[in-house]
Subunit: 338 residues, 2 copies
């Protein structure tokens, strides 16, 4: 067996997957043929919709091998891709992995990577259905995820209407706080690990997304990956609306006093971090006023916050300190000119 | 609109795609929602199977920007991915594009890339359903392709039986000849363009693959991407068989005398190129003896050649010059230790 094939076998052992045969029994789902052939084969029931998305995770852009443990890279690359399924209201099912990496990363680093990815796959109930591997000077990861949900129930970005309330899950900006700590060299200090977790091993809102979709409660939904100030305009543009945010209601990262001192001279502003820090992987969704009270039954309902409302205008504004100002798009954009 | 979103719009204009809404009319297929949301949405009929595969195409590994025109990179990256669908017997339908590239490639280079990819998509009848873009020091492309075929008819690598005949389509090694010419600096000379075509703008065997699958004529099938000597062992291992190749029957690249002179001192061996040159994207398939005569009706039947037979042994051998020798795996393997 040559070494690319050995690598594929190593991946298949570390991550929930199946090298199935079309003629064999299926395991209660529609994956008829898994990794190891030219393509995977799916036999969809025709009763559900499938959602599909892909996501890049690149060395030096999305992670740094000397700062981010290999298992975090494996874990996060899958979880952040699956967040796009949660954002439609779908249950994660399958994924494909394109992995390009230097020879020096095929040893212990790859073991760590696969361990993290395997853990994420088990947590999410996902199986590896295919992929491609090649050598490359830097680690380049592309993950395609597939999810399933009842026919016609996918929640898009385009359904928001003026008067709908804007909600987010969780607290925004926490991931950026974790990144700041890691950059300052505190990535391995155990006492900060609760603050690092959302950066290294983010949780995503699969249950909430499914709940909102199944009950048709969200009129529009997306996940916050590039920062609220960049992602909300995308939702509004898709919906042909504007929005008004109430700055004081935005659930911001809590920055402990000792951490604030630690990170000086950098003067952290929790609201700026909540607006512009990327990688929150929280859900951003809109709810018509008459459905709002049903949110009390939502999974993690105590972590949902109304932060504004959809307007019929074309602009996005934020109210802070009694003043209304335009919402500036200062979130993550790899191609923005500095 | 920020610049990542502008880039996505540029891609969507250049490549057949649709920014659809779930609530809107569907265009006669199951793509309910195209690019521009968190995920694409498919509503499969339940009457067909879907096959899915992904493929990496990396600067410096699979192509060199100073040798390969941008439109070839765009064309080939999609076509070679779709070849994995043809290898299952499926009709290509949709694809997702992960594109990471340096700022200097976002201008004319990207236009050329998208032009080539758009042409390939139109030729194959494929539409872009989603993707991801990011900045990266080198061009890194990952393409996920989806194809469709009648339920249960996908042809895998694992169905070959002792006594089946081994077939290939086309001539093997042509792509390597093209690459040799390009490396020597003849990539832009018009008189060599017929010899360069299979390297720069390969054709793939979609019709043949579909024909073989629909009639259940091929017992096993794959495409030759890493070279016959590397890919045939994969088919045999999946099938639990061995194989015997008849060296003289392998349809090898024809090397014109003037080209042979041109490429000296390199002494090209057509059989070696046919066995070990990668990127042929021809189909390699096995046919039970009683079905062989039906191949006369196959699309491109005159280009099909029986090159050997499947055996019950575990080894792979090739007969050349009256001698039988083991088939050495000398095709493309990015991770092989030199």
């Amino acid at each position: 067996m040559d070494s690319e094939d050995k690598l594929i076998n190593r991946i298949a052992r570390a991550i929930p997957s199946r090298i199935a045969r079309v003629s064999g029994k299926t395991a209660g789902d529609c994956l008829r043929l898994g990794i190891g052939d030219d393509s995977a084969v799916l036999a969809p029931s025709g009763k559900t919709d499938w959602v599909i998305s892909c996501d890049a995770f690149m060395e030096g852009v999305h992670f740094l091998p000397n700062l981010h443990p290999a298992d975090s890279v494996g874990y996060k690359s899958l979880v952040r891709a699956a967040s796009d399924l949660a954002a439609m209201g779908a249950a994660p099912r399958l994924f494909l992995l394109t992995l390009a990496l230097p020879a020096k990363r095929t040893g212990a680093w790859l073991d760590g990577f696969l361990k993290g990815m395997g853990r994420a796959a088990r947590l999410l109930g996902m199986r590896l259905a295919g992929g491609d591997t090649t050598k490359f000077p830097a680690v380049s990861i592309s993950i395609t995820v597939l999810g399933e949900l009842a026919r016609g129930l996918a929640v898009t970005r385009s359904g928001a209407k003026p008067g709908d309330l804007i909600y987010v899950s969780g607290r925004l900006g926490q991931t950026q706080l974790g990144l700041e700590l890691i950059r300052k060299g505190f990535g391995k200090e155990r006492r900060y690990s609760p603050l690092l977790r959302s950066h290294l091993y983010p949780a995503i809102r699969v249950e909430l997304g499914m709940w909102l979709a199944q009950r048709r409660i969200a009129s529009a939904m997306m996940d916050i990956s590039d920062g609220l100030s960049t992602d909300l305009p995308r939702l509004c543009r898709s919906s042909g609306t504007g929005a008004r945010l109430f700055g004081r209601q935005i659930p911001c990262v809590e920055i402990p006093v000792n951490v604030r001192k630690l990170l000086r001279p950098r003067n952290l502003d929790a609201l700026e971090m909540a607006l512009n820090g990327g990688e929150d992987y929280e859900l951003l969704f809109t709810v018509p006023p008459h459905k709002v009270k049903r949110l009390r039954e939502a999974p993690g309902s105590s972590e949902l916050t109304a932060i504004g409302e959809i307007t019929g205008k074309q602009d996005l504004v934020i109210l802070t300190d009694g003043r209304q100002r335009p919402l500036q798009r200062l979130g993550w954009d790899p191609f923005r000119k500095k």
